[in-house]
């Protein structure tokens, strides 16, 4: 009897414990520390969080690595020599400098891949927010959309510049897409910018400094138009002669050179920008307030938010935290600068000091100068790029160190487009329409006026003079590759220091190979010719 009661009790317990069997087949996931687009992007502040993430790809870890490296190191502006145990790095730095990259070579899988991935990440982040905006209404919706579409156009512009025609997506779906022609991509960017520029504000308050204004759309357009001789062509870009914007017809039936002039004028006459009184102030830690800035990558001296250019260029002993002693310039490039030109001061050459303390510094292994140590003296020549000494090569320190830096984070903004370039774009386009144009000469001399004391204006103008002026003005600002290609000099520049860079006529180098890893990921991609 007692047992049967216990048995009954236990059977009940067993039955109860088996209950979950019936109810529990629920496998729904509700992410806790992540969110999904379905429960986000509901108001302007949330959308702004998405917009910020699109801007973020312009910074150190985005455009300022892959695009910057390929735009600088593949040219005569920059070299990263192997220095003893440092900077061999799979041979990719010299591979970039010597232009021997391939789709599956170290640079192809690394720096070139970074351009593809980072630019497209910017595009995709913009598409995610733009898709979300289709289903909600937030304040300033049109402004946000215009801002996002301009940013997306900017990332496509980087891809157009480096790879030519690439897959074009305007929504966030992740699917294989075939490449469009370079011309179609050109037209797409153009039409997007033309469509939204009117919605973009001419000016913004200080709290919004760094966000897109109308000048950004106009600057990208002006730049694309002056490069139209390169950018709209599938084939036939010349590796040896100037690729002119004349003869290319763009939106509105305009000649590309004229369009470049028009959009330059739009900026110059907008009243929103003016040349900074001192040239140097465009690059200091407080350069955010320069009236010349059109589009910058914003930086701040805060953990994970700053510019790390001093790490790349400076010697180990010149800054704290310890820099990397890598990126240098070529002697020929350094020597091309006029010694009276203020702009030459961006180079570090000769006896060196700590950039923070001003104290003289010495070579490794002794980090503090003392008995037996060798003072650090940068030479402009590099004897053997595969085995360089640590003091070889002048350094480009255009973006000077920020006294308030937090670790390697400096607060200098990086200038993608500033007003000086608009002057020179207009001058170059005018010179194409009217070689030797006096207006063009005037524009170039305006730029030169603030960097020579006493003034040293040019007396005549031609393509070579404009290219030189762009070198002096924009060295270290990721313009050189684009400029050399337009001028038919990209594969043919030579250097005396015999660092393994020989002139080639490999016109296909003008476009970078699509990295093998990306070719694999998208079966619809067709490789650029020559790779």
């Amino acid at each position: 009897m007692r047992n049967s009661i216990r048995f009954a009790r236990f059977s009940t317990l067993l039955a109860l414990s088996a209950l979950p069997l019936v109810g529990c087949t629920d496998l729904t996931e509700t992410p806790k520390s992540n969110i999904t687009p379905g429960n986000f992007y509901r108001n302007e502040a949330e959308v702004l969080g998405g917009v910020a993430s699109v801007y973020a790809m312009t910074r150190n870890d985005g455009t300022l690595w892959g695009y910057y490296n390929m735009s600088e190191i593949s040219t005569d502006e920059m070299i990263v020599p192997t220095r003893g145990q440092d900077w061999f790095d799979n041979g990719r730095w010299l591979e970039i400098h010597r232009q021997t990259w391939q789709a599956a070579s170290p640079a192809g899988l690394d720096d070139i891949n970074r351009i593809w991935v980072d630019s497209y990440k910017g595009v995709a982040r913009a598409n995610v927010v733009l898709d979300a905006l289709k289903n909600v209404t937030v304040s300033n919706q049109a402004g946000m959309e215009a801002e996002l579409r301009t940013l997306r156009a900017f990332y496509y512009y980087l891809l157009l510049d480096t790879f030519g025609g690439v897959p074009l997506a305007t929504d966030a779906s992740v699917v294989p897409r075939a490449r469009v022609t370079r011309d179609s991509l050109f037209r797409f960017i153009e039409s997007e910018l033309l469509a939204v520029r009117g919605t973009l504000p001419l000016t913004r308050p200080a709290t919004e400094q760094g966000r897109i204004r109308r000048g950004v759309a106009d600057a990208i357009l002006a730049n694309m138009y002056v490069n139209a001789g390169v950018f709209h062509k599938e084939t036939g870009v010349s590796a040896t002669t100037y690729n002119s914007c004349t003869g290319v017809t763009v939106a509105g039936g305009l000649n590309a050179c004229q369009a470049a002039i028009n959009f330059s004028d739009s900026i110059l006459n907008s009243g929103a920008y003016s040349l900074a009184a001192t040239w140097r102030s465009n690059f200091t830690a407080t350069n955010r307030s320069s009236p010349e800035n059109i589009f910058v990558a914003k930086n701040l001296a805060a953990s994970g938010l700053g510019l790390n250019f001093p790490q790349r260029a400076l010697h180990y002993s010149q800054f704290s935290p310890e820099p990397w002693n890598g990126f240098s310039t070529l002697a020929e490039t350094y020597r091309a600068f006029d010694s009276a030109d203020v702009r030459r001061q961006i180079f570090l050459k000769g006896p060196q000091v700590n950039q923070e303390t001003g104290a003289p510094v010495c070579e490794r292994p002794k980090t503090t100068c003392g008995a037996g140590s060798v003072p650090l003296v940068f030479t402009d020549t590099i004897g053997d790029a595969t085995s360089a000494h640590e003091n070889e090569g002048a350094r480009i320190m255009k973006f000077s160190v920020d006294p308030g830096h937090v670790a390697e984070n400096n607060g200098n903004d990086f200038t993608f487009f500033r007003l000086a370039e608009i002057y020179l774009i207009k001058a170059e386009a005018l010179n194409e329409q009217t070689p030797g144009s006096a207006t063009a000469l005037g524009l170039v001399n305006t730029i030169r006026a603030r960097v020579f004391t006493p003034p040293k204006p040019l007396v005549a103008i031609n393509r070579a003079a404009i290219l030189s002026e762009r070198l002096f003005e924009f060295a270290g600002e990721a313009k050189r590759r684009q400029d050399l290609i337009r001028h038919g000099r990209y594969t043919t520049w030579t250097e005396a220091s015999k660092n393994g860079k020989a002139p080639t006529t490999e016109v296909f180098r003008i476009l970078l190979p699509i990295p093998q890893s990306q070719m694999d990921a998208n079966p619809l991609l067709v490789q650029n010719p020559g790779y």
């Binding site: 414990s17 979950p20 806790k32 070579s105 595009v123 760094g210 914003k298 670790a407």
Partner: protein, 1038 residues
């Protein structure tokens, strides 16, 4: 969980009530003789044990024994001796009478338990149809065993187990029949007392001091005391692991803890103390050698300024002679104490144990302490129709960590500085300011002694693992079971890097605390039916299982402290507060499973398994999959036609099954947004939190599937004096969970997809033999041999996937391995080294003339088949990290009261990439005033040539290791002494001998250099040295 709360007091009450009953009985004795069943000779040194009482003795050389003062009653007396099958007999002791018994023992090569734990129940060994191996913890638990994993090493064919390094409590790589996955998890599933346990990190990760990644996590299973383990079963083939379905692809390790038994109370205490020294140290130049080298290079430079070291190198020379490899290591001690008591009545049994272990590392200032308690209780009610079981293990593991590196770049952690810190400089300097550690002034070159002593990095992990089960016989053959398990761990990691250290000085001191909380809950309900009808036997189970794992984490960090005195205890006093991070995740599994075993005439057996698994982290519509398995065995030795064969046992097994790999983290199929660091931006001067996708959606994400065919033969010869098995298997894994690039544009470059195929094939042989079986001397020995071949069959559209980051200065962007269709996982890929030219520059093979080869620049020129800077097009497959075969040999000898055991392991034919030598056996370090490994002194490469990854650094790493030797002696203590009943003392040596041609510290390596989660193998970078250990221990039973 509520059940456990009530059950614990109930069981304890039960114990209190059961114990006094045993004390009031009158006494008798048991005496007898043991003989060998084959030779009929008397057997000495046989352990005679009254089960459940702790009473034991051993036989004299004439085979006789006496156990006096035994309370009247019925007992199960067990006789055990190495080389013989255990013998068990019921003995009834009468009041005041001497009971005589005769035991006859049969020789047997292997330790074979008649009943095997197989998951969701047990099976008779004869009925097993799948590939299942067991380990006897009593023979494997020798030397310093701190983790249950180590019991398996070298003892099971097809199981490869490599501890990450010599760090105390180090994690391990366990591969059962090779790696079946490229990026998903390759770890086996651990099931403790029937409850699957998560082998996830239990405390915050380490701090990265070397610009690479922090040291690998220690083993999450350190909570288990190896002495508590009663049995280990390893399920290897899919027909056996299919019962674990989606979690079975990497094999299953079933651990049953020890349980109490009926009879009076017993108490056992065992302890050991061990001393360890590094088996090998980094071989760096001494102070005088380094000084002479620098001076000679300066002389070379003075003659030819393009070579050697310039005169400033002289200034780096100090007056000291410090052997950094020696001053950073030590003779470390380990001590371990186990106290166990057990007892109970026929209905209630218990076993409780307490363990304290304290192990110091052979490198400075690190170690592990464990305090662990365990309670196991069983209770029978309703005439044994109801059986309750409870197991609770609770532990606190205190880890003290060293700031070393897993991989690294420019800045150095502990071992990098051991290899490179200038040997002419002292450990400490004393001047007017007092005594302090010598530092160079550089923030990236750091005195390794100071790194170890000044930085505090520790973790305290509390983990409780428990389960409560109830079995109820509804009918004589039908049993219902419910098992509720819970596992909760809380680990707090605390770090402080003081301002006095170069790492801390860069940020004004750094404090960090990270807490992880993992909670896993499991519910199993099960029905089993077991019936024998004539020659037919049936064994059927059906079960439901529900598991949920919740993980929460919180990490806080702040910098820039006024004083080091607060350490990590007052993080608010730092002026730079790093934004805290926190996270929460949930995973859920739900399963329905059934297994049916049918046997006919004890000759033919068939087992069918079906498990239907649901997993929350896969995509909707792909969350549920069925995993089937079927296997059969035929005991040929039972057939008449084999009656006269030499086989005492012969069995043929064939099995096929499909299992899955659940290696997808929570939310893997969803597009999720996250405020990630690379989404932050600044407007004006205000940082804006950016929200960006951190994962692409994959609406098709599903299980990785492994199908496996296994054919095996189990054999026994000469009355099983030789026995073992031979197996062949083929595993095909498809729908690999692989993180691959997706077509751009995509908000994240890659995502987890089901892509590609891998094939693993292998042969496993185990052989146990009993060569000598004489009264005073027994020798048993066994060998396990595994041959495994692995091949990537298909990689979808991907030509190759690169992985294996190369560590060290000047190596960024360099990778060492590729996953390539047609080649195994662990394939090294790079340039082929061809020697040096006359000036000491490295040359590499070139296979064809490329663009630029005809120019006169000299550098790019491909001349006579060699070039100075290898091109991507000249890269080749240069090595294979997989061994041709692995070998384990164990031997147990029993001679009178002595016992000798030995374990030897070997692995043959594998390649290891010696990343340590690539970057530290290079003279170029001297350019920076740094030391290097001695190997560089004699190589012809000039000082200014960079360290280039090539075939030169891929080394053969075959080895044979004497893993353990133990010598023990057992005492009988006459009962008149009135203290302990038996005692055993032993000495043991671990890792005493290593035969290898590998030039690094140790050929057994693991370094996690994965890129995007793609696994790597065989990379050696600055390993924590393995120890050579001598242990002395004693076990006493009361």
């Amino acid at each position: 969980m509520r059940l456990i709360r009530y059950a614990v007091p109930a069981v304890i009450l039960g114990l209190a009530w059961a114990t006094p009953l045993a004390a009031q009985q009158s006494l008798g004795s048991i005496s007898g003789k043991v003989t060998d069943g084959v030779t009929q000779q008397p057997l000495g040194a046989v352990t005679i044990r009254i089960e459940g009482t702790g009473r034991e003795t051993s036989t004299r050389p004439d085979g006789g024994f006496v156990l006096s003062d035994v309370a009247a009653g019925s007992y199960r007396v067990r006789a055990a001796r190495i080389g013989y099958a255990p013998f068990l007999q019921e003995v009834t002791v009468k009041d005041g009478a001497a009971t005589e018994v005769q035991f006859t023992m049969q020789p047997q090569a292997a330790v074979i338990d008649p009943v095997v734990v197989v998951g969701y129940g047990t099976q008779r060994r004869e009925a097993i149809t799948g590939a299942v191996s067991t380990v006897d913890p009593s023979t494997a638990n020798v030397g310093v065993i701190t983790n249950a994993n180590q019991l398996i090493q070298g003892r099971v064919a097809g199981v490869e187990m490599v501890t990450n390094n010599g760090e105390p409590g180090s994690g391990a790589q366990i591969r059962i029949r090779g790696s079946t996955s490229i990026s998903a998890n390759n770890e086996p599933l651990y099931v403790i007392d029937g409850v699957p346990v998560a082998n996830d990190a239990t405390s915050g990760s380490g701090f990265d001091v070397a610009g690479g990644s922090p040291p690998l996590a220690r083993s999450a299973l350190n909570l288990l005391n190896p002495a508590d383990i009663g049995s280990i079963t390893i399920l290897k083939d899919a027909s056996a692991t299919a019962i674990y379905g989606s979690r079975g692809a990497n094999g299953v390790i079933l651990i049953e803890t020890k349980k109490g038994s009926a009879g009076g109370a017993s108490v056992e205490y065992d302890t050991y103390a061990a001393t360890s020294t590094p088996a090998r140290r980094y071989d760096v130049l001494t102070g005088p050698e380094y000084r002479a080298f620098v001076q000679s290079q300066v002389a070379i430079h003075n003659a030819d300024s393009t070579r050697g070291l310039d005169s400033s190198a002289i200034a780096t020379l100090g007056a000291a002679n410090t052997d950094w490899a020696r001053v950073t290591t030590r003779t470390a001690t380990t001590q371990n104490h186990n106290l166990r008591f057990a007892g109970g009545s026929d209905v209630t049994r218990y076993l409780a144990s307490l363990n304290y272990m304290n192990q110091d590392g052979v490198a400075l200032a690190n170690g592990m302490k464990r305090l662990q308690g365990r309670l196991s209780a069983t209770h029978q009610a309703l005439n044994s129709r109801l059986r309750l079981g409870l197991n609770v293990t609770t532990s606190q593991v205190n880890d003290q960590f060293l700031t070393y590196e897993n991989n690294g770049g420019f800045a150095g952690g502990f071992f990098e500085n051991v290899a490179t810190f200038n040997p002419t400089q002292p450990v400490t300097v004393t001047d007017s300011l007092g005594t302090r550690y010598f530092e160079t002034g550089s923030t990236s070159v750091r005195n390794p002694v100071a790194l170890a002593e000044q930085i505090t990095d520790r973790a305290a992990t509390n983990r409780t693992l428990g389960n409560l089960s109830a079995d109820f016989d509804i009918l004589p053959n039908l049993t219902a079971r419910i098992n509720v398990g819970a596992d909760k761990s809380t680990g707090l990691r605390q770090l402080y890097i003081p301002k006095s250290n170069p790492i801390g000085s860069a940020v004004g001191g750094l404090a960090r605390q990270g807490e992880y909380t993992n909670v896993s809950r499991t519910l199993q309900t099960q029905l089993s039916y077991r019936r024998q009808v004539g020659a037919h036997s049936f064994d059927v189970i059906g079960a439901y299982e529900w598991t949920q794992i919740d993980r929460d984490s919180l990490i806080a960090e702040s910098h820039n402290f006024l004083t080091d005195a607060f350490s990590f205890n007052n993080m608010g006093s730092g002026t730079v507060i790093v934004p805290p991070t926190s996270g929460g995740r949930m995973d859920r599994w739900i399963s329905f499973l059934t297994r049916a075993n049918y046997g006919y005439k004890e000759r033919y057996f068939v087992t069918g398994v079906l498990r239907y698994d649901g997993r929350s982290s896969f995509a909707k519509g792909h969350q549920w999959t069925a995993f089937p398995g079927i296997s059969a065995s035929w005991r040929l030795s039972q057939e008449n036609f084999l009656a006269k064969s030499p086989f005492s046992d012969l069995r043929l097994r064939v099995g096929y099954g499909v299992v899955g790999n659940p290696g997808a983290a929570a939310y893997s199929s969803l597009l999720t947004l996250d405020p990630s660091g690379d989404a932050r931006y600044v407007f004006g001067t205000t940082p804006i939190t950016g929200i960006a996708p951190n994962r692409n959606a994959n609406p098709n994400l599903s299980f990785e599937r492994t199908s496996q065919l296994d054919i095996g033969v189990d054999y026994g010869l000469m009355q099983n004096r030789i026995s073992g098995s031979l197996e062949y298997y083929v595993k095909n894994t498809s729908d690999l969970l692989l993180t691959v690039n997706v077509p751009q544009p995509a908000p994240v470059v890659n995502r987890l997809e089901n892509v590609g195929k891998i094939r693993n094939r292998g042969v496993e042989l185990s052989l146990d033999a009993l060569p000598i079986s004489r009264p005073a001397l027994t020798w048993r020995a066994g060998i396990v041999l595994s041959v495994e071949r692995n091949k990537v069959v298909d990689l979808g559209p991907y030509t190759f996937i690169t992985t294996g980051t190369v560590s060290g200065q000047g190596q960024s962007g360099q990778t060492s391995q590729r996953v390539i269709p047609g080649f195994p996982i662990g394939t090294f890929y790079g340039p082929v080294y061809a020697g040096v030219d006359s000036t000491g520059r490295q040359l590499f093979r070139c296979s064809s003339l490329g663009a630029g080869d005809t120019t006169t620049t000299g550098v790019q020129k491909c001349l006579n088949g060699v070039m100075r800077t290898a091109r991507a097009s000249d890269y080749k497959v240069i090595g294979n990290a997989n061994p041709d075969f692995t070998l384990g040999f164990h031997s147990e000898v029993s001679w009178r009261k002595f016992d000798f055991t030995m374990l030897v392991r070997g692995s043959f034919g594998q390649d290891v990439f010696n990343n340590t030598a690539l970057v530290y056996a290079t003279k170029g370090n001297a350019l920076q005033g740094k030391n290097f490994l001695r190997g560089a002194l004699t190589d012809p490469i000039r000082v200014r040539d960079p360290a280039v990854y090539s075939s030169r650094w891929i080394e053969k790493a075959s080895f044979l290791r004497l893993q353990n030797i133990t010598v023990g002696y057992s005492f009988d203590i006459p009962s008149s002494v009135g203290a302990a009943r038996t005692a055993r003392v032993y000495v043991s040596g671990d890792n005493l001998l290593l035969l290898t041609g590998y030039s690094g510290l140790d050929p057994e390596v693991f370094n996690d250099t994965n890129i995007g989660g793609i696994i790597t193998r065989g990379v050696d970078y600055l390993s924590y040295p393995r120890a050579r250990t001598v242990t002395a221990g004693v076990r006493v039973a009361f």
